[in-house]
Symmetry: C2
């Protein structure tokens, strides 16, 4: 396979606002057994969708209303917020890769039929790139590689983000995910193009 240079490979940017992935069991506790999780719109990642249904996230200091559920249901409930959000809620979630929630922060989730007090599940998502397996191969990227990326060129806040985690799967579409703090620090918008600058070698 022909090798592609990083600077010849534009990657589309998705900015993740605070959201929740939820188990079917938790959803039914919050919304009732007769309510379906319904699609608001498809996301670029195959099978993933923003739902019409939203929850409230409550911390010891503050709260956010109408936090969107991202479907489909998952095996554990996970809340992803920005560090700015964490100060509003009054909690200190760790930076984690999606799915790695052991010992993460607790938070209260509210819905029309009740509240759930989660002992863990709230994280600040580690910035990452989803790679379709063929794209990763052509770039020489392997699952769990860390890279530096260039964001926000010519917007007055050019930024190089290090510690960007690469995740590779045949079930992924190639797409970079930053949270709102990261995007706003670089004046980046949804759909912007980012570039890998280099792999990080430790």
């Amino acid at each position: 396979m022909q090798k592609i240079k990083f600077e010849e490979f534009p990657i589309i940017l998705h900015i993740s606002n605070r959201h929740i992935h939820i188990t079917k069991e938790h959803f039914e506790q919050l919304f009732g057994k007769d309510i379906q999780l319904t699609k608001y719109k498809d996301l670029l990642q195959p099978g993933q969708f923003a739902a019409n249904e939203t929850v409230d996230i409550l911390g010891p200091k503050g709260e956010f209303r109408n936090v969107r559920i991202v479907g489909p249901f998952r095996n554990s409930t996970q809340i992803e917020i920005s560090r700015t959000d964490s100060f509003v809620l009054g909690i200190r979630p760790p930076i984690r890769d999606s799915g790695n929630i052991k010992g993460s922060e607790g938070v209260v989730v509210g819905g029309p039929k009740g509240k759930i007090e989660l002992k863990e599940g709230c994280i600040i998502a580690q910035r990452h790139i989803h790679f379709f397996v063929e794209d990763a191969k052509s770039l020489g990227i392997e699952d769990k590689d860390l890279v530096k990326i260039l964001v926000g060129k010519s917007k007055g806040r050019e930024t190089i983000f290090s510690d960007v985690l690469c995740r590779v799967s045949k079930n992924y579409a190639t797409e970079c995910h930053l949270d709102t703090d990261e995007a706003n620090a670089a004046m980046a918008d949804n759909g912007d193009i980012v570039y890998i600058l280099e792999k990080i070698r430790y």
Copy 2:
């Protein structure tokens, strides 16, 4: 004078939360003529202080209560917010160097005695370093130079911020200012050390 290398010159970081610089006239409109602007605590920049008095900032979509005044009084009123804040308020302020507010965003400022509808004055501060003149000289930095800085090393979100504006004065203490979006994107805290990596040459 002996030249110092960038990597040998640690610079202390100050994280600017949303705040307002205000004219005496506007302060009197908001608080009344008999009220004094009083010091809560000194800032590192000589003569600058966080005041006990706060205002409300109101936008078309949302508002922030208890936004701190930074004294002393200035010749024009200037509100500095993050881009995250701007989405809450529902306004689109430009990225600007402090003092450059012509054509910036309007916002309503509220106090105990009334409200002021500002036609301009609200900006997102360009990230910057205040340099004491002797420090700048020893580093080969001149007023209005742009540099890249390294922030958040070993915190899981290492970041290189480009487009960092250098301002040089005998009235400044050497200190880097980032806003909350930038700091949170890098997991940076008040008092962290940042380093210049290089001057940007256009």
